[in-house]
């Protein structure tokens, strides 16, 4: 267990930058998830921490030691790979014990530790099998066993669940979370799946194009995104973006939609003056915060016609158009309406965000 501190990290492949100026501290015992679209540099960052890639600039400290020029084996990290990377010519027991043998542990100690790790993961009965005789979920457990048996300072996970089917993925996700609670170890986990990120992380590091977009707790990022990218990446179904123009409306500033309708500013938006009129913005509002307007005075009312109805069981998602832009609302499963029906939708502007179209940043009042 140890903290990780990354300062000014750059990684280039030839002249192509993969990671550009990362500053990040992972606290001791924290579960940090690096998430972002494919090609955003999250795996490269993880591999740089492991020592599998050399860094181009900056420093990485693990437990207070700068590890820039240290070989992977000396960094005291363990890594779980996307394709499991089990040694096919070794039994499960030998796979799990490989790291201990490489580090010249006494055989009795290796045996004890392998059995303890196997018991933790429920794979005691598989110890004599070969990887090819195991199912995907079992292989993943062996890969995790190989990591925990060494009791490393840092656990690194590189999209460990993406090769599993949906059901098994949910199961292993819970298991990894439980493992973190039991071991209390520092874990850095890479995924492109926002649900994995939300459910597992103490802290999410959302990356895009080699840079960090935002760091924070899952709820932080979900409720107070810093950029349009963050707002759009987290949440399912996706947040609605509605283009608008700022317009002076009497003493205050309003949002003017393409068809001339106006909406008040979201509660989180800063005080804007009449001089901001004409600025292009986007209103970001999640489907959960758009519903029927029935008797809810706090909501801003919009009339439109239902285009699409998508039931999911617990909730039903309904799409309608607002000034030409499709907007999704989350409605009660028992009262969704039908395509063509008129709907009076209520927008909860307390939960909406205002995005500057030019910079892609969320405009926010300085919180008191």
């Amino acid at each position: 267990m140890a903290p990780v501190k990354i300062t000014g990290l750059h990684k280039r492949f030839g002249t192509v930058p993969a990671v550009r100026g990362i500053d990040l501290t992972v606290a001791d015992g924290e579960f940090t998830v690096l998430v972002g679209p494919s090609g955003c540099g999250k795996s490269t960052l993880l591999r740089t921490i492991a020592g599998l890639e050399d860094l181009s600039e900056g420093t990485i400290e693990i437990g207070g030691r700068v590890v820039n020029d240290m070989r992977p084996k000396d960094r005291d990290v363990a890594m779980v790979f996307q394709d499991y990377a089990l040694y096919p010519h070794m039994t499960v027991a030998r796979n799990i014990g490989f790291g201990l043998r490489a580090r010249k542990f006494p055989p009795a100690e290796i045996d004890t530790r392998v059995r303890r790790a196997a018991a933790m993961l429920g794979i005691e009965l598989l110890l004599d099998r070969y990887p090819r005789q195991l199912s995907g979920g079992q292989r993943q457990r062996v890969a995790i066993g190989r990591a925990i048996v060494r009791n490393p300072q840092i656990f690194l996970f590189d999209e460990p669940l993406s090769n599993l089917d949906a059901q098994l993925r949910d199961e292993m996700r819970s298991e990894i979370k439980r493992l973190h609670q039991d071991l209390g170890a520092t874990m850095i986990y890479v995924t492109h799946d926002q649900i994995e990120a939300m459910t597992l992380a103490d802290r999410i590091v959302l990356m895009n194009a080699g840079q960090i977009e935002q760091v924070g707790t899952p709820l932080d990022l979900y409720e107070r995104p810093a950029t349009r990218f963050v707002a759009g990446f987290l949440g399912s179904p996706k947040i609605n973006f509605i283009p608008a123009t700022l317009a002076a409306g009497g003493s205050s500033v309003l949002l003017k939609l393409g068809d001339g309708q106006t909406l008040p500013l979201p509660a989180s938006a800063p005080q804007l003056s009449a001089s901001d009129s004409g600025r292009l913005v986007e209103l970001g509002i999640r489907p959960q915060h758009v519903g029927r307007a029935n008797g809810d005075g706090a909501r801003t009312r919009i009339k439109s016609a239902i285009e699409l109805v998508q039931p999911t069981g617990s909730r039903t998602f309904v799409t309608f158009r607002l000034a030409g832009t499709p907007v999704m609302a989350e409605l009660d499963a028992h009262d969704p309406g039908r395509p063509g029906d008129e709907i009076e939708a209520g927008f909860d502007m307390r939960r909406a965000v205002l995005i500057d179209s030019e910079t892609g940043r969320v405009l926010r009042a300085v919180s008191p």
Binding site: D83, Y87, A102, L134, R146, R150
Partner: protein, 280 residues
């Protein structure tokens, strides 16, 4: 009903395949049979008309002559020593080179092709300089000299066969080993090489057979001391005519190691060890 059944059963017999295999087997086996028989025929039976399919008085006299009078046994031992040494060297160096090419893209895209291009060079283009150099440095007619020449000769193919194999071994396996506590060198020997064994064995077999049957270099780079089995055959075609018996006897002897090797490594040649390494 019964007639119908038997016709169906007949249809299941792949007559065309059996016929093809039978002809193919004859094509392969008849010359071998002829050679084996000739090696134990008295010399009068060599070219008898009609041909003698099995000699009435088999004899081992040709074996004695080929192995001792014509120094076939010495040639055999030299061949075993030189081919084995060159094969081991070629497999070892080939493993290192192929791994380096496959993992680190050493020399960019051109070096790997340059290695293969060495095989495009006709041996006759380089044999004279090698001969002169060997004479100069005292490697002519030595075991070491021929081992070196054969190692260089077989390396391109060895490297290319292993290169293809190492590229199949998933990188993440070695990376896992590196994180687990291995150096690059240990990761190579403990993870990559065991997984590439089928490829290494196949390449080694090819290298061995190439050395075992090589004639041209052996002819020019050796004389009385380090001569190999193929060069002994020269002696059987002389002004007195061809010594069919001796030649056949030595051919039979030279076949033995090849066949033994084939049986020994068959298991490795067909085994796909990387199955189960990663998903699927």
């Amino acid at each position: 009903m019964i007639a119908n059944l038997s016709i169906r059963r007949l249809r299941r017999v792949p007559i065309a395949s059996i016929l093809f295999l039978a002809i193919f087997l004859l094509f392969i086996l008849v010359p071998l049979y002829w050679m084996a028989m000739t090696s134990i025929k008295p010399s009068d039976d060599y070219l008898a008309v009609p041909p003698v399919w099995f000699p009435a008085h088999p004899t081992l006299v040709h074996y004695g002559a080929a192995l001792f009078a014509y120094r076939g046994l010495t040639g055999l031992l030299n061949s075993v020593i030189i081919s084995t040494a060159a094969t081991i060297l070629s497999a070892f160096l080939g493993t290192l080179m192929a791994y380096s090419l496959a993992r680190f893209n050493t020399g960019g895209q051109h070096l790997s092709f340059w290695v293969l291009s060495q095989r495009f060079l006709p041996p006759i283009a380089i044999i004279l300089p090698i001969f002169l150099i060997y004479r100069g440095v005292g490697l002519h007619d030595t075991h070491i000299g021929l081992v070196l020449a054969y190692t260089v000769l077989t390396l391109p193919v060895t490297v290319w066969m292993m290169y293809a194999y190492f590229r199949q071994v998933p990188r993440s396996l070695e990376e896992a080993a590196l994180v687990d506590g291995c150096t690059r060198w240990q990761a190579l020997w403990r993870v990559a090489v065991p997984l590439a064994v089928p490829g290494i064995v196949a390449a080694a077999v090819f290298a061995f057979i190439a050395c075992w049957t090589e004639f041209f270099f052996a002819l020019l780079l050796t004389s009385r001391n380090a001569f190999t089995l193929p060069t002994v055959f020269r002696a059987f075609i002389g002004f007195q005519g061809a010594l069919y018996g001796e030649s056949s006897a030595l051919s039979v002897v030279s076949l033995v190691p090849s066949i033994a090797l084939g049986i020994l490594v068959q298991r490795h040649l067909v085994r796909g060890l990387t199955l189960g390494a990663v998903r699927g």
